[in-house]
């Protein structure tokens, strides 16, 4: 039996089904997308080869594309540097609370993550509504009588409001990951650090956070990918508006392909989108790998 699984032919044969699935589910659509990115096509009818024109227009002249890119990076930064530390701190507090209290609060925090994106978005669109929304009513109730902000339509508040909805929904997941990770930290490690005279701050920064690096890496990779993929919330709330102030890459891609009927252009965006996603994922993994290799060297 052992010989059978060491046989290269057997390994190759057993790998074939998964390779076929990957080829059809991932590679084939990518190749088709790449093909159409060099074409001018409305989605049906004549297909015309236009070489690099779509890419030239996208990279050199399309301000909305860069706006979408900027918003995507902004969302990434917010999730990585605001949502994550906050979720980590709350998760750390939850590990120190009584079991029943911790369980109750975990459930509360995780509820948004269990709701469908459509429900969450429509909920916040209603809360943000300037005429009957809860937020404006609340602000008026506490004395800000002249507050009639159209949170999702006002150029000054639209992007912040959209990002808030995304962070609100994503917070539960980050919390769940960190809480689960923190529960696996060996008690001996904490006790040894305390014996060595480490205070609470040092305990977390020198012992627990480095121990949690693989979890942090996973959460950050998920955050980066979900920031890039953001589609439904934007589509259901602002559709990228006002103007292109809340535009995100996935929404822009969809609008170009299916509203503007510029299917080739939409595919060019999708190709850039895939390259960007792969590059960012490798970049993050490399940062964490170097960091953990550095730690090992120091430890050795």
């Amino acid at each position: 039996m052992k010989n059978l699984f060491s046989d290269k032919k057997t390994i190759a044969l057993l790998s074939v089904p998964s390779i076929i699935i990957i080829a059809f589910a991932i590679l084939a659509p990518l190749v088709v997308s790449l093909y159409f990115s060099f074409m001018e096509w409305s989605g049906f009818g004549a297909v015309t080869f236009i070489g690099m024109d779509n890419y030239r227009q996208l990279v050199l002249h399309d301000g909305t594309f860069y706006r979408a890119l900027l918003n995507t990076f902004l969302l990434m930064l917010v999730t990585i540097f605001l949502q994550n530390p906050f979720a980590f701190v709350i998760a750390a507090i939850l590990t120190k609370l009584k079991d029943a209290t911790s369980r109750f609060l975990r459930t509360i925090y995780f509820i948004p993550a269990t709701l469908s994106l459509v429900v969450v978005t429509k909920l916040w669109v209603s809360i943000f509504n300037p005429s009957y929304g809860f937020l404006n009513k609340l602000l008026q109730g506490i004395g800000f009588q002249n507050m009639q902000i159209a949170w999702l339509s006002n150029p000054k508040t639209a992007l912040g409001s959209v990002i808030w909805i995304m962070v609100w929904q994503g917070f539960g997941w980050a919390l769940l990951f960190y809480y689960s990770g923190l529960m696996t930290v060996p008690k001996e490690l904490e006790e040894a650090a305390k014996v060595d005279g480490a205070n609470k701050f040092q305990l977390y920064t020198k012992i627990i956070v480095p121990y949690m690096l693989p979890v942090i890496q996973s959460v950050i990779v998920i955050d980066v990918i979900s920031s890039l993929k953001q589609m439904e919330m934007v589509y259901l709330s602002t559709e990228g508006g006002p103007g292109d102030l809340t535009q995100f890459i996935a929404v822009y891609l969809y609008q170009k392909a299916f509203r503007y009927s510029e299917y080739g252009y939409g595919n060019a965006i999708s190709v850039i989108f895939v390259i960007l996603a792969v590059f960012l994922t490798i970049f993050i993994q490399r940062i964490f790998r170097e960091r953990s290799a550095g730690k090992k060297r120091v430890g050795a």
């Binding site: 409305s42 989605g43 049906f44 009818g45 669109v125 509504n129 300037p130 005429s131 009957y132 009639q148 902000i149 159209a150 999702l152 339509s153 150029p155 709330s237 602002t238 559709e239 508006g241 006002p242 103007g243 292109d244 102030l245 609008q255 299916f258 509203r259 503007y260 009927s261 510029e262 299917y263």
Partner: protein
């Protein structure tokens, strides 16, 4: 024990789900013919949707072997769905669509739409020019279903409450804004998220200023420029309306349903929309007080402008088409003819919409229906297809996007006309 009961309950739920998920029409044993339909009217219990359901029911009574399945989404979502279906070669057998070159022409060019016999449909009393709007390369590809007049619906009770007379000009509306707001009433609502109502308003204000609808067609055909003074004045005028607080504050994120509900729930005094919304007057989803106080007025004039209130932005937009690749094409064509035959009478009887076919005015018609008939009859000039639907899909989207930007005050009127002109230039190439 509890685990066994739980497991049994789970199995029971799964089995029930599987059985009922098979659908209710299995008894047909393969004899059922499913006619797939699609439209932009999600409400099937009242108005236009109810009329379609009535026609479907009658058609099924005539053809017991037929089952009709319908998909309905709001306008924009339905248009996108159709593009996706066409790309995948999965269009419904019969569907409601639009006759505009931006929408119908690509489907016609792609040979997705079945040509119709003009003589067959001529007999059903279509208004002059309405069938012709569906003709491409000499062939009829769709039947028009509505005559679309761009008007303002008003709630007379809210005007009385604010002590404001019904407006004749946009200046009257601007002057009334503080009075409405003092009563907590939104002066005017419309669907700004989808953008196209803002484009209709742009064409209409342009006419009120210049005195003619022709400059829009000329700008599309590049005989005029969107940077011309009449368009710049229009852009400035519209942005000033926003600054004066005429519209709901979340205009650009307020979609069709949201703006309609604000008006129907008596939060807004005016609703800028087309004549297809005449069913508001009989919509049981809204209060008696709303329906009793509902009225409709012509699109107001601009003081000092050359256009009159009897110059009407009107077109025949909505149509019905048959999928050229349908497996049940004959049945679909038969359905279409039945629809053409009974729709105007049913639509007028329930006051659901303003059909593209001639109808008999009745004593029992709602005030809104009577007024719309008068507005159509009194029109001195009419526009034909609006500007955004005279060009390419990309131009249409750019026009809508620019209107949203203009009304969000994130683009100047000067930049607006320059970008709109560039889009028209690109589309014309």
């Amino acid at each position: 024990m509890y685990r066994k009961i739980g497991l049994f309950a789970l199995m029971l739920i799964l089995a029930t789900t599987v059985v009922f998920a098979q659908g209710a029409k299995e008894s047909g044993e393969g004899e059922t013919v499913v006619l797939r339909m699609g439209d932009n009217i999600p409400d099937r219990s009242t108005g236009w949707g109810a009329v379609i359901e009535r026609i479907n029911k009658e058609f099924i009574e005539m053809h017991p072997e037929v089952e009709i399945t319908t998909e309905s989404y709001q306008d924009q979502a339905w248009q996108e769905k159709v593009k996706i279906y066409a790309t995948a070669n999965q269009l419904p057998d019969v569907m409601k669509y639009w006759s505009f070159s931006t929408l119908l022409q690509p489907l016609v060019d792609g040979k997705f739409v079945e040509p119709l016999n003009m003589d067959t449909f001529k007999q059903y009393g279509y208004m002059a020019g309405s069938l012709e709007g569906n003709v491409y390369d000499g062939e009829l590809y769709g039947i028009p279903v509505s005559a679309d007049l761009w008007v303002i619906y008003v709630n007379k009770a809210l005007f009385e409450k604010a002590g404001v007379p019904l407006p004749e000009s946009w200046e009257d509306i601007v002057a009334s804004v503080p009075k409405f707001k003092a009563q907590g009433i939104i002066p005017m609502v419309t669907d700004g998220k989808d953008g196209w109502p803002l484009c209709e308003m742009f064409d209409n204000i342009q006419q009120r200023i210049s005195g003619s609808f022709q400059p829009v067609a000329d700008a599309i055909d590049r005989k005029a420029r969107y940077t011309d003074d009449n368009f710049l004045q229009t852009a400035r005028y519209i942005q000033n309306l926003v600054k004066a607080g005429v519209f709901q504050s979340d205009l650009v994120t307020s979609d069709y349903g949201a703006s309609r509900n604000l008006f129907g729930q008596e939060r807004a005094a005016m609703y800028m929309m087309g004549s297809w919304e005449m069913g508001l007057a009989t919509d049981p989803n809204f209060s008696d007080s709303f329906r009793e106080n509902l009225d409709v007025i012509e699109f107001p004039i601009v003081e000092g402008g050359k256009g009159g209130s009897d110059d009407l932005l009107a077109w025949f937009g909505g149509n019905y088409i048959v999928n050229a690749k349908s497996e049940h094409k004959d049945l679909a064509l038969e359905y279409l003819e039945y629809y053409a035959k009974v729709f105007p009478a049913y639509a007028w009887e329930t006051q659901a919409t303003f059909p593209a076919q001639k109808v008999e005015a009745r004593e029992s018609d709602t005030i809104v229906a009577k007024k719309l008939l008068d507005i159509a009859a009194d029109a001195k000039t009419t526009s034909g297809t609006p500007g955004l639907d005279r060009s390419t899909a990309a131009f249409k989207e750019t026009h809508q996007d620019l209107m949203r930007r203009l009304m969000s005050k994130i683009i100047t009127p000067e930049a607006f006309v320059a970008e709109l002109d560039a889009a028209a230039e690109k589309a014309a190439k």
